[in-house]
């Protein structure tokens, strides 16, 4: 029984890692511009499909394909920011950005369909996709890579945010863009940087989730929804919240489908999200926003 729970936990944490990375990328953009990047899933698929093409058609090595795919997703993210976000008002009450980003996401998705076709494609595995057993616990090496990769990315991101000038500047832009601008920080540049970073994270997500499943131009939207749910559950805009939200949703889905019913897994995680947002609108880890008047 313990071995079984451990196997389920590994599967849940692996998929939770992917959701956490999605949520973190959504949070990076949210922190910089107070908007949700609904095109994040499409960026992941762009990176994944580019990666496969580079490895299979151009015989590029895994690392080379990874770097180029991350760069491609980063450039696409910058384009989304430049075309769909920057021209719009930055007022918190302005919702034009929702339409604008959703439109960008649809355009990106259709471009992927045109370029890469709708066929789902198998993503090469770096360490092997065959299941293995250790002390009765079943796991796939790809799952461990997904967990390790996500943890490494989280640590690097935390270091950037806490220990570098760039990270601190991004935090300043997030807290008060006007004040940051008065202090000489180029807000537009940092917002663009946040999008590019989210694009790079999309590349990493693609290379971690790809071997666990497959990549297809049509899978982006469902990943975005899961990432957004994870970010909202943990507390939109909070670093720790995104991580917590991702793992909570990944584990909930896996445990519900194992011990309750697979038909209920999405319902349970989304109902949990609703309940938490009713009682803690600022999410599991977020803090209530206090405005002094």
């Amino acid at each position: 029984m313990l071995a079984e729970i451990a196997s389920v936990s590994i599967a849940g944490v692996a998929i939770g890692s992917v959701y956490a990375l999605m949520a973190l990328a959504i949070n990076v953009v949210f922190a910089a511009r107070r908007i949700v990047n609904f095109a994040q899933g499409e960026l992941v698929m762009l990176a994944g499909l580019s990666g496969i093409t580079l490895m299979t058609s151009f015989n590029l090595l895994y690392l080379g394909a990874f770097v180029i795919a991350c760069a491609a997703a980063g450039i696409a993210a910058l384009a989304v920011e430049r075309v769909a976000v920057r021209p719009l008002s930055s007022s918190e009450h302005d919702i034009a950005w929702i339409l604008s980003i959703v439109a960008a996401s649809i355009i990106l998705s259709n471009l992927l369909l045109l370029i890469f076709s709708t066929d789902a494609q198998r993503f090469p595995s770096l360490v092997g996709s065959r299941a293995m057993t250790f002390a009765g616990v079943r796991y796939v090496p790809d799952q461990l890579v997904a967990i390790g990769g996500a943890v490494a990315a989280i640590l690097v991101l935390a270091l950037i945010q806490e220990r570098t000038i760039v990270g601190k500047a991004m935090k300043a832009v997030s807290l008060d863009p006007e004040m940051a601008s008065m202090l000489g920080i180029s807000v537009n540049r940092y917002v663009g940087g946040a999008f590019a970073l989210a694009g790079g994270m999309a590349g990493l997500t693609a290379f971690l989730v790809g071997p666990l499943t497959f990549v297809s131009a049509q899978l982006g939207f469902s990943l975005t929804i899961k990432g957004f749910a994870a970010a909202a559950l943990g507390g939109l805009g909070t670093f720790r919240g995104a991580i917590a939200g991702g793992f909570v949703i990944g584990l909930t889905e896996t445990f519900v489908s194992t011990y309750v019913s697979s038909g209920l897994k999405d319902i349970v995680s989304l109902v949990a999200l609703c309940v938490i947002l009713i009682f803690r609108p600022y999410g599991l880890v977020g803090e209530p926003k206090v405005v002094k008047v």
Partner: protein
Amino acid sequence: MGWKHALRLVSSATLISLAQLSVACAGDFVIGVINPMTGPGADMGTWARRALEPVVTELNAHGGINGMQIKLIFRDDESNPQKAVAAVYELIQRQRVNMIMGAHLTHVAAAISPIINQAKVPFIVFGTGAALIDPVKLPYSFRFNMTTAEEASVLVSYAEKNGWSQPAFLVDPTAYGQSGEKMLNLELAKRNVKPVAAETFSMGDTDMTGQFIALQKASPNVLFVWGLGTMLAQAARSADRVAFDKPVLGSIGLHQEGFVELAGSAGKKWAGTFFRAFTRSENEPAPERTRAFVDKIAGLYGSQLNKSMSTIMSAAPWDDAIRDIVETLNRSGAKTGDEIKAALESAPPFHGILTTYTFGPQKHDGYDERDIAIAYGLGVERAIRLRVPEAP
């Protein structure tokens, strides 16, 4: 009540005009072909087109239908019911087609069947879902393909013969998956058997480890799966992760390119229903007629043939269907929707590559269940699938 009355009037007027528009245009016999050219069912639509075009060229060279040339108008439904509905309206209202063929995907076919039937346009459907054929509700729909009910019957009989009395299900939530589950349940109920577990998967599921651990705990001795090839490949890989080792039987989706390309060795022992004519046992070769068809397709599209040769499951029914229709319409001289319907209902049996098709006023499903076999999805040979060992 006023608006309801007005709505009825508008609906009636629309339907009458659609019915009038369906009358054949002079010169050509126009067939609208609606199929997935992109999306999860793209391989079926692509190969249906590749099968249909050379046959129509050949038939046109022999006089077409009653002296009219057959004209094909292709529309991509993108594996999406909404896109299919829009395409159907365009085919009926603008192109004024004499007949519509296609809709390999059940959920797409379910969305367009009522519209086509209300317009009294004969509809040759290839989706396998049970509800797609009903001579009373959908009098203009005819099917040249095996049905979900027939597939379920063959699969459950095979499990029964092997003594597998504790089945479990894993199905997708679309009309296709649900139709499969319903038919499997009906077949099991005839034998007083209930599934020990029933799990589902969603199109966006990245991992099904949970489902397979739950299935393992229920201790089934056979697992029935129903869904499209791509998602079944994902299921096979998840099954491999938890060392699920029970026999897995499923729908024809296990022969789709998506399954063969993505499942890898994890799907090696998964077997699905297939056209018996395109299968062989360890010792018995496939029929000569089948070989000739495969050679013909290979001769035309050799460089484009895919590994899975799911080509066959798409191409062969279309070849059979268009030849049967042309033969029937040439014999009867039928032109309008009602005449074509009557001609197909009274046509003698047609001996196709896959089966002998027979239709009647109460029988709009032409395929013979005896021509369904169970074969491994990952074939050892390019076009011909290996049948599972005979049940004791």
